[in-house]
């Protein structure tokens, strides 16, 4: 009994008290219960191990993000993701096929189209201007004082009165 009291626990036995106390022999358990030195060694070691946990908690930074995942408030069915991906892939494939077979206009085609549109616009403007000039000349054949007494829809070529006053034949140039 006295030998048991003086023979302290080895370090390994102290370690095993933290892992599996049942692994200690009965004599070792009895000794630990009665020996203050071994109890102090055990407590000191245990405090060191507890301090690891304590410091790890103390030095843990505060998370900047909310760690709760966002999707918890809004659930989207996985089928939706599959459908969405399928549509996206189909769209991309269609664009690629269109590009390969020339369904989409090339840069040169777009430039040509713009040039044609600009030419059409300028031709139209030119025709409008010519038409307006022609109309002005036709209207101003009569002297200014007479222009007020004729109505707006006056057409010199189709009016029989003027045909009588100025017969067409007299206006024609005699080629002979």
């Amino acid at each position: 009994m006295s030998e048991q009291k003086t023979k302290h626990l080895v370090d390994d036995a102290i370690l095993w008290t933290f892992i599996d106390p049942d692994k200690l022999q009965e004599s070792e358990k009895n000794h630990l219960q009665n020996c203050q030195i071994c109890q102090d060694r055990q407590t000191s070691f245990m405090q060191e191990l507890n301090e690891i946990k304590h410091l790890s908690q103390e030095f843990l930074p505060k998370p900047k993000l909310n760690l709760r995942p966002v999707s918890i408030t809004k659930t989207v069915s996985p089928v939706f993701f599959r459908m969405k991906n399928a549509l996206a892939y189909t769209f991309m494939v269609m664009i690629c096929i269109g590009g390969v077979f020339g369904l989409w206009p090339s840069q040169n085609q777009i430039i040509d189209q713009v040039a044609i549109e600009q030419a059409n616009t300028s031709i139209e403007t030119m025709l409008n201007t010519t038409d307006a000039d022609y109309q002005t000349h036709m209207d101003s054949i009569l002297p200014v004082t007479f222009q007020y007494i004729v109505d707006d829809e006056f057409e010199i070529m189709s009016n029989p009165f003027y045909d009588y006053v100025f017969p067409i034949s007299t206006l024609e140039v005699d080629d002979s």
């Binding site: 070691f45 790890s56 843990l60 760690l67």
Partner: protein, 190 residues
Amino acid sequence: MDQISGWFREAQSGNRYALNQLIDYYQKDIFRFVYYRIHHQADAEDLTQDIFMQVIRRIRTVKDHSLFKAWLYKIARNRVTDFYRKKRILFFVGTTDDLDSDNCETSEQDSPETEVNKKEFITLLKCLSKDLSKWEREIFLMRFIDDLDIKDITLALGKNENTVKTHLYRALQKFKKHQKFRELLQTSKG
């Protein structure tokens, strides 16, 4: 514990409030688990979110509420392993420079003394981790930083209980020889 198992059952049946409560209860623990393995705050936050996303998707697959904690840590551990695997590939490809990041972030609110202590603690913890084998390190951290009991560690790692105990014993033996780390713990304890 009854409250947690209640939340767990409710969450399994689709109750969002219970799921939120469950996540709020474990989020700090999981963040700590991840942070002390990758030592990078932003990555740890992202990984923690990923872990809880996985929990939300698969919570219905857990049959017993007593297994939930171990299951949660198993997911966390797998995600950390994936993170390192991805990082190793990026390192191999050449898109990242640091395989083992040594950055110890400090908070603006910390006093200079706390910052120094924090850096020293993390450095010594890393130093100890390097001396331990993969399983010894994992089990040591799970036991003394994450405060898991042997049963939960056994379930989370899918290992035999005796194997876990043996690894833990070897890890403690190596820790015992780490005088510098022990001195830091003794001084902060005092």
